[in-house]
Structure formats: structure tokens, C-alpha cells
């Protein structure tokens, strides 16, 4: 029998029992929709997280720290969550040496400075300390492409600040264009009055510009001030509210080595590793993040698949009934020369067609559900507008439909086998 004819026969048979097919389909649709919804949430979250690491600037960065020799025997691979409790600080001298390495564009110490701030006399709505990063003169021009409003500073000694847009939006509820040129006052406490050692002049900065959080990637949480001023602030506040390391002038918990291009990242990483540094690149972080999300996606898929597994029984039941009802027809088919395989394929295709239709409709329902839940999430929380929590990738879409077809065909397998093995004479006698 030609495949097209088998398909036509199956479609005709499904069409003859529309009501029952529709009811079976509901089960499959719900199953596939749940599966798509669950996995698309995991995939969506993964995409949002990965976005943070995928700016070119981040990919050129090697994060380095140092631990006491022998502190962790046999451990070669850096651990993303292993904050250096036994770390050896990186000093100004180390940084000067690192700068000389071939392939290194420049080295930026993590000044690990957390301060509270006021913009234009208004305090942070969440009363949390805000991380402050120092921007070396080499990197200022590179920030231009992230500017949403205002401009970069021209004097690297100016007390000026670049603010990421999301921080502004979430913590201060201000629009970028409204705050350019306004005053920012830093302090260790939540109001500047409580910090008598600091003169207002030392902690008052001008808002030079606002940066686009989305494009900025992983560093979008921090403010940027000129490196010189960042170091000065750090010394003035005795390290501010650094949570991880006892403050000491000229030494740092970690640093970022910026390579001249992306190709030299791996070579430099090896070299730095051999020199006793713990090294971590965006690629390492991406790998870890992917692994974590793979587990999450697998878990979500298992939960989502429960619905589909339940619907298997619906399909199996429908197909078993169809075989019983069409016993005589099966006998006729066999009597006039249908092979066992012909009968089997017609029933398998019917089951698979339920899977195909249910898969496509379920995929649509899941995708629409994701968009709806996204809208709800945006309405109820301050998730930024451009963040999509649910993402239906082409792979997920194809996978969901194929899985639905496969599972349905599986459910139809036993009934189809029974149909194909029927004895024609007995089947013809069936009333």
C-alpha cells in the first residue's frame, strides 16, 4: 500500500469518529501544552541568564583570584560558587605585572565597594548597598555604545558616574534623560549625614550618563566611576561595605583581565592558571549555567510529561475501541489481500495523527499560555519589559510535536498489533 493511501485511510477513519477523536485530542493537547509551558519557562530563564554573559566585553574578560597554595588539593577546575574564603589578595604589584603579559589589554581590580547613594537628594527605594566599579581610562570609550542618555566623562579624574538604566528604573523610579547632570552622593550609611569623616566634596558625583542595562550584560548591576575616583572612594570609606574581604589599601579580592581579542582568552587563561591564579572565563560560567539549566529543563520536562503520559491511556483506549468496532472491516481488508503490515500501519497512523494534531494544537496552546503568563508576570512584578520568561525555541517546538507523535504511536501500538494479527475468517464472522 502506498503511504499516501494509508494516510488517507487513517484520516478518513479519524474523521468518521470526530467526537471521540476530539475528546482524546483534548488529553493530548493539555499534555503537550503543559510540557511546552514547563520547558519553555526553563529555556526562557536560561536565555535571560545567558544574555548576561554574552556581550563581547564579557567574553573578553578573564576573572582571576588567588587562593593559598595547597588549600584545595587536587582541584583543578574553578568552582563558580566557591567564594575565596582562603584567598590571597591580588596587589597593585601583581596587577602591574599582569599588564605586561602579551595579549592583555588591561587589568581592572575588583574594588568590591558597596555604598548607598542618593540621586538628586532622593534615597534608594530599597535601601540596599549598590556595587560600584572603577572604570579605567582604557575602557571609557568602550562604554559609548551602551549610552542611553548623557555622555561619557572626558576628565578621568572627574567625580562623575555612569548609571545602568535598570538600577535607575527599579531603585529610583527615574527616567534616564531626567537625571543627567544631577548630583549623586555616596555614603556608607543610608544618609550622607551619618558619615562625618567624609567631606561632601569627596562623595558628591555628577551623573554623566545612563547606560543600557540590556547591552551591558553581567556588569549591569554596578555603577561606574573613574578608576582613580573609585579607588579614592574605597580608601575613604575603608572598603565601604565589602562583604568578603578585610579592606587593605592596594590589595584586592579579585581582578578582571581584559584580553586584546577573544582568541587570546584561552591561551591567557592557561598561562594565568599556571601562575597560580584561579581563573574563570565567561565560557566557564556559561558551561556551568548550561549544566544547571539542563538539569532544570530535564526536571520540568518530567513534570510536564506527566500529562502526556496520562493521555497515552486515552489514546490506547480510543484505539482499542476502534479496533473492536472495525473488526469486521479488518476481516474484509485482510480477505481481499491486505497484509498484516497494511492493517497495522493504518491503525498506527491513526494514533500518530492524534499525536500530530494534539501536538500542534498543544504547542500553540502552550506558546499562547506562555505569552499570557509572561504578561501576567510583567503586570504583577517589576520584571523588565524586554525579559521573556517563556521561550519556545524551534528545537522545543519540533521536539514537543515529535514526542507527542511518538508517544501516541506507542499508545496505538498494542491495538494496532492486535488488529494486524486478527484471523480474517474469525474477524469476518464478528457482528
Amino acid at each position: 500500500m502506498r503511504p499516501a493511501d494509508a494516510l488517507g485511510m487513517s484520516a478518513g477513519n479519524l474523521g468518521r469518529r470526530k467526537g471521540r477523536t476530539a475528546l482524546t485530542l483534548v488529553g493530548v493537547v493539555i499534555g503537550v501544552a503543559a510540557l511546552v509551558l514547563m520547558i519553555s519557562l526553563a529555556v526562557g530563564l536560561e536565555r535571560e541568564v545567558l544574555k548576561l554573559f554574552q556581550s563581547e566585553d564579557t567574553l573578553r574578560t578573564i576573572f582571576i583570584s588567588r587562593v593559598k597554595p595547597g588549600a584545595r588539593k587536587g582541584q583543578k577546575k574553578p568552582n563558580l560558587f566557591d567564594f575565596g574564603m582562603q584567598s590571597v589578595p591580588i596587589t597593585d604589584r601583581d596587577i602591574a605585572e599582569l599588564r605586561k603579559l602579551p595579549g592583555v589589554a588591561h587589568v581592572v581590580p575588583d574594588i568590591n565597594l558597596f555604598l548607598s547613594m542618593e540621586i538628586d537628594g532622593e534615597a534608594d527605594s530599597e535601601e540596599e548597598f549598590i556595587p560600584i566599579g572603577g572604570l579605567p581610562p582604557e575602557e571609557i570609550e568602550g562604554m559609548r555604545k551602551y549610552l542611553l542618555a548623557g555622555d561619557l566623562w572626558t576628565d578621568p579624574n572627574e567625580r562623575a558616574v555612569l548609571i545602568p538604566s535598570r538600577l535607575l528604573q527599579v531603585r529610583f523610579e527615574k527616567r534616564p534623560q531626567d537625571i543627567v547632570g544631577k548630583k549623586v552622593v555616596f555614603s556608607r550609611a543610608f544618609t550622607s549625614d551619618d558619615d562625618p569623616q567624609l567631606t561632601p566634596e569627596q562623595v558628591t558625583f555628577r551623573v554623566a550618563g545612563v547606560l543600557d542595562t540590556e547591552k551591558l550584560g553581567i556588569k549591569a548591576r554596578q555603577l561606574f566611576v573613574p578608576m582613580e575616583r573609585a579607588l579614592e572612594l574605597r580608601d575613604l570609606t575603608q572598603g565601604g561595605n565589602a562583604p568578603l574581604l578585610v579592606y587593605k589599601k592596594g590589595s584586592y579580592l579579585s581582578a578582571e583581565v581584559k584580553t586584546k581579542d577573544m582568541n587570546s582568552v584561552e591561551e591567557l587563561k592557561r598561562q594565568l592558571g599556571n601562575s597560580g591564579y584561579q581563573v574563570l572565563t565567561s565560557a566557564d560560567i556559561l558551561g556551568t549555567v548550561r549544566t544547571i539549566f539542563l538539569v532544570i529543563e530535564g526536571f520540568m520536562a518530567c513534570i510536564g510529561a506527566i500529562g502526556l503520559v496520562v493521555s497515552i491511556f486515552g489514546i490506547a483506549n480510543t484505539m482499542a475501541m476502534a479496533v473492536l468496532e472495525r473488526t469486521r472491516e479488518i476481516g474484509i481488508m485482510k480477505a481481499i489481500g491486505a497484509r498484516n503490515g497494511d492493517v497495522r500501519v493504518v491503525f498506527l497512523l491513526e494514533a500518530a495523527a492524534i499525536g500530530l494534531i494534539g501536538g500542534i494544537v498543544g504547542l500553540g496552546a502552550g506558546a499562547i499560555g506562555g505569552v499570557a503568563l509572561d504578561a501576567v508576570a510583567h503586570g504583577l512584578t517589576d520584571v523588565p519589559d524586554d525579559v521573556r520568561l517563556f521561550h519556545v525555541s524551534p528545537l522545543l517546538a519540533a521536539g514537543a510535536v515529535l514526542f507527542s507523535i511518538f508517544v501516541s504511536a506507542l499508545a496505538g501500538f498494542v491495538p494496532a498489533m492486535r488488529a494486524s494479527r486478527m484471523d480474517p475468517v474469525t474477524a469476518l464472522r464478528y457482528e
Binding site: M1, I332, A335, G337, A338, V425
Partner: protein, 226 residues
């Protein structure tokens, strides 16, 4: 005359509850090509079972069947299906048309199973329906056709793949006398070997040169008329 069908010591036993029923008992018979034959006998005489075995719908418990040079015992299930599709056409008492399909689709079905091109088989189905006088009713479903018309469709279907042998199991058993006569006339006009199982001696004597009577699975008489 060449023998088209040869059954050699064919036995068919059924397990029936505790006992064993012998439906066909070491029966040896030949049917010549082109000679219309009737198998008659009371119900339970084994005539339908014999026809099923000759038609490859059932396998004998022992014995050998040769049809058109093929030994049925040697055929696998798939080959036996191919045999049913190509070598013999079956006509049933209760017509056995697929209720959801139109007359034309029913006639097409054996060709569909054979994988023939759709346009080709549609043309052939229309030809056959015309030949059995049902060209005008080709788009009707079996439920919209009379018994005689349904049997005509089933004859057209049996001819679809142009088999040399037609096997008819009580083809007139469900029809009134006039329609029965029409159907038998049609079968006679088809110009191929027809073996009819019937309990109707009148039909058998009127249309078949040879009448074989079975009783308890054995040949009770085998008569040829001039």
C-alpha cells in the same frame, strides 16, 4: 483441461470446546481452469471451510493446496495476503463491503492495497462498475444500495486485480430469486474460473457444469453435466 486448483488430502480440524471438530477430512479434489463448479452440501458439511482454505483465508491442518502453480503451504502470511489480492477474488454472502466507503472506493480497495496509482485504479474501478451495471451508483455507500447492487459491487471488487480464480461463498444466499438469477448470470459471464459454494441446488445445477457435494468434510458426490 489444466487444473487451476488442486487440493491434496486436505484436512481441517477445529478445537471446539473439549472436542475436536473435523470440518474437512482428507479431501482431495481438482478444479479445472475455466470450468464453473459448485460445492453444495448441508450447513456444517465443510464447504465454506474448504472455500476459505482454497482462498488462502485459512490454513489447513494438514494437506497441500496448489493454485495456479503456487503451493499455499509454502507461503508466508504476507505471501498469502498477496495471493488473496492477486490470484483469487472473494465474493461473500453478506457482501462485506466497507460501509464507510463509496462503491468506487470499495472496488478500488484491492488495488489500493496493491499500491496502484490512484488515477489508474479509479479508471479500472469505473470500468468494472460499468461492467456490473452500476456506473451510475459509484458514489453511493453500501447502505444506499440494494442487496443485489451491493453484491455487484463486491463482484467488481473481486475482479479488481484481475485474478484467474473467483471464489463465491453463498453469493445468492441473501438475495431474492430474481436478483439471485441476475447475479449468477453476471458471474457466468465473467469468463473465468468460478467456484461457488451454495446450499441452493437449483442455482448449482443451473449455472455449474460440475457440482461437488460435501458431507461431513468428504466428497459425497461429484457430478458433471454435459
Amino acid at each position: 483441461m489444466d487444473s487451476l486448483v488442486r487440493a491434496d488430502r486436505v484436512t481441517k480440524r477445529y478445537e471446539h470446546g473439549a472436542g475436536v471438530v473435523t470440518a474437512v477430512d482428507a479431501l482431495t479434489i481438482e478444479f479445472a481452469s475455466g470450468e464453473p463448479a459448485a460445492i453444495v452440501g448441508r450447513s456444517g458439511s465443510g464447504k465454506s471451510t474448504l472455500l476459505h482454505i482454497l482462498g488462502g483465508l485459512d490454513r489447513p491442518t494438514s494437506g497441500d493446496i496448489h493454485v495456479a502453480g503456487r503451493r499455499l503451504a509454502e507461503l508466508s502470511d504476507n505471501e498469502l495476503a498477496d495471493y488473496r489480492r492477486t490470484t483469487c477474488g472473494f465474493i461473500f454472502q453478506f457482501f462485506n463491503l466497507v460501509p464507510s466507503m463509496t462503491a468506487r472506493r470499495n472496488v478500488e480497495l484491492p488495488m489500493t492495497l496493491a499500491g496502484r496509482d490512484p488515477r489508474d485504479r479509479r479508471r479500472r474501478a469505473d470500468e468494472l462498475l460499468e461492467r456490473v451495471g452500476l456506473a451510475a451508483r459509484r458514489d453511493h455507500r453500501p447502505s444506499e444500495l440494494s442487496g443485489g447492487e451491493q453484491q455487484r459491487v463486491s463482484i467488481a471488487r473481486a475482479l479488481a486485480n484481475d485474478p484467474p480464480l473467483l471464489l463465491a461463498d453463498e453469493p445468492t444466499g441473501n438475495l431474492d430469486t430474481r436478483t439471485a438469477t441476475e447475479i449468477m448470470d453476471l458471474l457466468k459471464s465473467l469468463d473465468r474460473t468460478v467456484i461457488v459454494v451454495t446450499h441452493d441446488r437449483v442455482v448449482a445445477d443451473a449455472y455449474c457444469k460440475r457440482v461437488v457435494e460435501l458431507s461431513d468434510g468428504r466428497i459425497a458426490s461429484d457430478r458433471r453435466s454435459a
